[in-house]
Symmetry: none
Subunit: 165 residues, 2 copies
Amino acid sequence: MLNITGFFLFLIMSIFRKYRSIILYSAALALLLVLLRWMEWQFVLVNNSFEIYAGIIAIIFTLLGIWVAMKVSKPKTILVEKEVLVKSGPEFRINEKAANELGLSKREFEILELTAKGLSNQQIADQLFLSLNTIKTHLSNLFLKLDVQRRTQALEKARRIGLIP
Amino acid sequence: MLNITGFFLFLIMSIFRKYRSIILYSAALALLLVLLRWMEWQFVLVNNSFEIYAGIIAIIFTLLGIWVAMKVSKPKTILVEKEVLVKSGPEFRINEKAANELGLSKREFEILELTAKGLSNQQIADQLFLSLNTIKTHLSNLFLKLDVQRRTQALEKARRIGLIP
DNA sequence: TGCAAAATCACCCGAAAGTATGACTTTGAT
DNA sequence: ATCAAAGTCATACTTTCGGGTGATTTTGCA
């Protein structure tokens, strides 16, 4: 018996942990609604100005929406430090040049790098806020430009010609 | 005279182009306000349900805020390149030691290397005179030992821990 | 201003990769 | 000689990739 209740407690806790932000947002929204109710009383009792009321709600919730979006889409402004290996020899910045010679676009190069980190297409899509199909398309074009058939082949070749460390 | 009017037209057009998103947003907002005015009429005339009205406004403007935030916060990742000198120091034969520590067998390591060259499972099977199933089995075991799910992930990890150059 | 390239997304289909399980043989060490 | 680990292979199933085609929107440049 205790086992079952414990299980449910655990379940609830894990659900809370998982969707904490959503739950917190809901709570904040509820709070705001209460606040609005109060404001409603104020305005209705004092003067029946609908428009001011609507405007205030609009502004507040616009800001709220912006805030939520900022919160949710955390990885927006990350500062990525990329270490570029500089051999003392005369081969600097091959990746840039090689990429230009091959005609790789920014996106293609970016996705190539994520591929090199072992991410699946779906994971790349999630990370870049893109569709899975888009990733596939970019990779297809990349494969054409690198003249390969598989992602592992692409990585090997990219490494060989200095596109990737 | 035509010159002056033309100039102003040009000016307006260029301003429009420059701040198109802002102008469009303003327009959308104005439209929404009109819509709200209409809804206000509806609700006021039909039944005086303040809360539904407020809720609708809240939802609409929350979504609007989210949308705006998404649009505005476009510049995501700032890429800072950091140059690091690399020396061809004395680091031989890490692979052997690392392989032993992980408990990789000879075959598994061999197949890992072929995978790193971008070969498909079938090509590896052909090259080693083995069955495709055998390659899959070895790779499965390798993935277990490396704690990964995909070959690209395996390659990344293997490279990271020095199994592979 | 208009055009080409880049970027985005969708749908379909087949191939490749990965998972799980079981079985048999070889090898190496005690 | 025995036993465990390594190696080999199979079957069945699911998931992921890759190729092809087409369409729309954004962007950068001439």
